[in-house]
Subunit: 284 residues, 2 copies
């Protein structure tokens, strides 16, 4: 299914496309933003960085406030900003919480009713969206893809990377939910999407658990603000991520950024570093 | 009257302060954002760039989406993001239009009832706000101040600069309303704030008119997007600004940016250039 381009906006020498398409893995129209750097063309397709947003966000937040475009334009990297969940499915309770349902898809395929078969953000982000994008936009090089994200989207970036060796050239994250099976956000989401009976399924989407069994090398960049209230509340657990990485002999660099919070002011400050991190692998 | 700091947010190595204070020139509480670059201190106060926002905006839009902090941090320049009008005065019709009343103060002191004595954004921005800021924040160097702005705020930046020789070290503007006496936005605003009987007052707040009589040199940087619908509708009139500048022998550089619109995607793209322009004068 092809894309409708609802707006084309000049940004940092390239173009930000506001796109919509009728998805199959999730039963609704999905919106997203695609940034094409100035150098992207069919004869010289750009490598691609997926930016997965956090709770309550759409694909607009990162595009408007993340400032990834600034460095992406310089490096010649395209950026994809997907939505964070299906929308408007009419599921009872879908819009009631900020941290479950709409805006909170958690990048998993739900196995529990009434979300089963509908909240399939894992399949949408790893399969349907890239396939559709790369067949439609010849300016994109589907063989060079990296991933990053914020909070719930940081969880998404890390788990999608670890569950799909070779799919992404690199991964980084801003304030990721690193150990969702052991925090309130993750427990609510996994309980709602998987049920409480299948903790194995929970572990399949927990960065710390995945890292323990990961074969091969990683080079993960993570930034967390020390003034981040969600970090202080134990929703992010970067120390656990560091501990697991150390025990497993995996390279995970967690930078504790003094005084930074959980907002896009934090993301925009370090966005350049994360694009640089991706560029190391996308452009080599 | 002093400031209440409602939030302190780390951004690009510095701090964004969300401030509120009870103003006198306008009869209400005024909110604003103040960005302090990492180098600002009482012993080494930072020069200051005022960023005046456009119609419908508050001091938040520029701080969140303008990307001025990125270059301001690098250059050691503070940025002040004021609101665009008084708020909540209970004037009949105040909140009815996007282009008049709330969010549309036009940086003038109204002389027509019921706005007279209340909508005094000119006095607030040129006098009360800087005086209050510079007496309160020793990290700011009130002797080195520049000004910029977007759309209505571009009009504000240019007219405040031209009406107050020596007050600002430099001026620039993004898509300014350059000739408000000859466009719909300006005519509506000036008619409402000054009345239709005093066209002399109108001219006192029109960049093109002010430039004709301006003594001394200027070095004005203006960016306008060629895809800007308000430019196409004749609300901005940069050609008239160029014409007047040429006739008056004043240096006004208007850059027509191919395909850019009126949004913060446009502003963020060229924000660095405008901070550099201010830095030339603030740091010399």
């Amino acid at each position: 299914m092809s894309f409708e381009t609802t707006a084309t906006i000049a940004s940092f020498g390239g173009k930000l496309l506001k796109l919509a398409h009728q998805a199959k893995t999730v039963p609704c129209q999905m919106k997203l933003n695609l940034y094409l750097p100035p150098t992207a063309s069919a004869s010289s397709p750009a490598p691609v960085l997926f930016y997965l947003a956090g709770l309550t966000c759409t694909g607009d937040n990162g595009a408007e406030k993340g400032f990834l475009q600034h460095k992406a334009a310089e490096k010649g990297i395209a950026v994809v900003y997907p939505d964070t969940s299906p929308r408007g499915l009419g599921i009872d309770g879908e819009d009631e919480s900020y941290d479950f349902g709409s805006g909170a898809g958690f990048y998993v395929d739900a196995t529990k009713e009434p979300y089963k078969g509908k909240y399939n953000m894992y399949s949408y982000i790893t399969r349907e969206l890239p396939e559709t994008l790369f067949s439609h936009f010849k300016e994109l090089d589907g063989s060079r893809v990296s991933i990053t994200g914020h909070s719930m989207g940081g969880h998404g970036a890390l788990t999608l990377f670890l569950k799909n060796p070779g799919m992404y050239k690199s991964v980084s994250a801003f304030a990721p939910i690193s150990n969702p099976t052991n925090c309130q956000w993750g427990q609510k989401a996994f309980g709602g999407y998987f049920g409480d009976g299948d903790k194995g399924k929970w572990s399949e989407h927990d960065t710390c658990e995945l890292l323990k069994g990961f074969k091969g090398d990683v080079d993960v960049l993570v930034d967390v603000g020390t003034g981040d209230n969600f970090y202080k509340q134990g929703q992010l657990r970067p120390e656990e991520l560091e501990k697991v990485a150390k025990e497993a002999g995996k390279s995970v660099k967690v930078r504790y950024q003094d005084g930074y919070d959980h907002s896009y002011f934090f993301i925009s400050t370090f966005a350049g570093d994360h694009v640089e991190h991706a560029a190391k692998y996308l452009l080599k």
